[in-house]
Symmetry: C2
């Protein structure tokens, strides 16, 4: 396709019409309905009796993404994925999103079309419709801001505060792959690690994480006691569950589900990537021994996997602590703490 | 208060706690409830049977505001006001908002506290609660992104598409004051116009527009046929109603409600400010002759004013046109068109 038009060639209103056409029909039908794009606000009827779950998350150029590391399809995917992941962590069904594009004005239409295709494909797979949004000029850099709405099932949500001593700690999928992918992106394309057969898999885990909405719904249904999504890494996020629940944790490093590609490409660093690497967007949860087998079957039936990586214990006198157990002889307490965008 | 701490001194999580404390109790109680700030998403129960109205709007530094023109209290006010105004245009009751702060990191805490006070005071006056949000690093400039949720009354909303030939065209409050205030801000503080007794009034209209949520609810209740809010100026916004309704309009310039301060400080330009000046955030609506007296009384009872400024007519063969009538001998057709952020 030889379309070299830029945003400023078609303007704000031309762009809105162009981008709506890039979305799958299911995803855009809401915005084209009675009161979507075109009115001052969108109108949505939640299912009777259900609650509305609301989350908002942004990707800023130079902070959350670099255009020389990502393609535009992946960027659209990830912009929505991080929001769907927050709904998944609550066990909510994704329903609706509004998106703000903060653009310089020199972006190519075909790049934004790819962005909307990535976003639209993920929305369609998750039953989410785009209800509208806003386009603003942003002279110094791109940014994308999404607010996503979900719906509860039977009025219930998953929370961070329900973990109890004795509960198993579980994660869906594997951890560390996204951080490994980002390390690969920092290397020169001719670097032998980038040439490895599995490199693309890890880079894809970083650029297009798959949010676990169906698994979140299953965790809610089968009685997980606490849940959140893994965006800041295991040792960044687990403390938030412990804090909310007033508990501590033991993690068994031998049980961490780390992809073979991560272990083989990063033989020295794989454990650190698994413990502290962020942006996997898998679900971290706790469940009683009784609930565990049902959760395991349920997640399998939804096409996913879960791994028990440790156990909730009582809080220590000094607060929620995490003990890392590697084998029977070695264990250490680690200092919890999430990545802080303003302090490093 | 001698608090010189900056965002990077307290970090993302310290800032969230600090800012929540700046909000009025009513506004923050949701975020501090069972599942607000602290969980992955907020959970809200709309009134049974009502629909959810969703809007999103942003203010970007250098595009929508300048820190040398605004104080931080006003900036917080306006960031929320432009969103509440969109809900008002639908006749929806403001309920909940999430806010994303895109910060450089060197902002003073006391400035952000003033921002939250301005935002919080307006939220409290409008019955809106802050449900949470996101704080992201934005190296090249500040931006604020709000998504606001409202609720319908009896499942109904105001739309742009209901204007019919013969309907009166009305506006709430006065128009042109915000644009006049912005012109004053472009002048040197020592300029005689800036020294005028009424200058501060016009500048306040620009910096702290009061969204008309109560009047929007009244327009819905008393049967306005079409409504929107005035953000792009009368000649930028009226065409959107005409387009949606398939109609034309006649505007009588002698009837435009323009504040005396605008006429006296801008004797040459007041009409242009009233017709094309944006950001008044008043409501523009249409209503049948029958409905008009009820609307007038209803808006008065809610503490507002309405002025009939013209009439809806049939569309011409070339589409929705606006005819400007100044007296019986002069009339001209104007070319409609909204301000486009990417085309100037």
């Amino acid at each position: 396709m030889n379309d070299d038009r830029r945003v400023r060639d078609v303007g704000e209103f031309g762009l809105i019409a162009f981008l709506a056409g890039s979305l799958p029909e299911f995803v855009r039908e809401f915005a084209e309905g009675e009161t979507g794009i075109g009115d001052d606000a969108a109108v949505w009827q939640p299912a009777p009796g259900e609650k509305v779950v609301i989350t908002t998350d942004s990707l800023v150029e130079g902070v959350h993404f670099r255009l020389d590391w990502t393609d535009w399809y992946s960027l659209g995917h990830k912009t929505l994925a991080v929001n769907i992941s927050d709904l998944a962590a609550m066990g909510a069904a994704p329903k609706l999103a509004v998106i703000t594009l903060a653009l310089r004005g020199d972006e190519r239409l075909q790049d934004l079309e790819a962005f909307y295709q990535g976003l639209g494909d993920l929305a369609a797979r998750n039953g989410l419709k785009i209800a509208g949004g806003d386009i603003v000029r942003s002279p110094h850099g791109l940014a994308f801001h999404v607010t996503a709405l979900g719906e509860t099932k039977n009025g219930q949500v998953l929370k961070r505060s329900g973990a109890r001593p004795g509960d198993l700690i579980g994660v869906t999928g594997t951890i560390g792959a996204s951080a490994a992918g980002m390390r690969l992106l920092t290397r020169d394309p001719t670097d032998p690690l980038r040439q490895a057969a599995t490199a693309d898999l890890l880079i894809a885990a970083h650029l297009r994480p798959e949010p676990r909405a169906a698994l979140g719904a299953m965790l809610l249904e089968e009685g997980a006691s606490a849940t959140m999504d893994l965006s800041d890494g295991l040792l960044g996020d687990l403390p938030k569950i412990l804090e909310a629940s007033g508990a501590g944790a033991e993690i068994d490093t031998l049980r961490l589900p780390v992809a073979a590609a991560v272990r083989s490409l990063f033989p020295e660093e794989w454990l650190d990537l698994a413990l502290r690497g962020g942006e996997d967007y898998e679900l971290l949860f706790t469940a009683s021994e009784d609930a565990w087998p049902k959760i395991e079957r349920g997640v399998q039936s939804a096409g996913g996997t879960v791994t028990a990586i440790g156990r909730i214990v009582a809080a220590t006198a000094t607060g929620p602590a995490i003990q890392i157990v590697a084998d029977e002889r070695t264990s250490e307490f680690v200092r919890p703490g999430a990545f802080d965008h303003f302090q490093t």
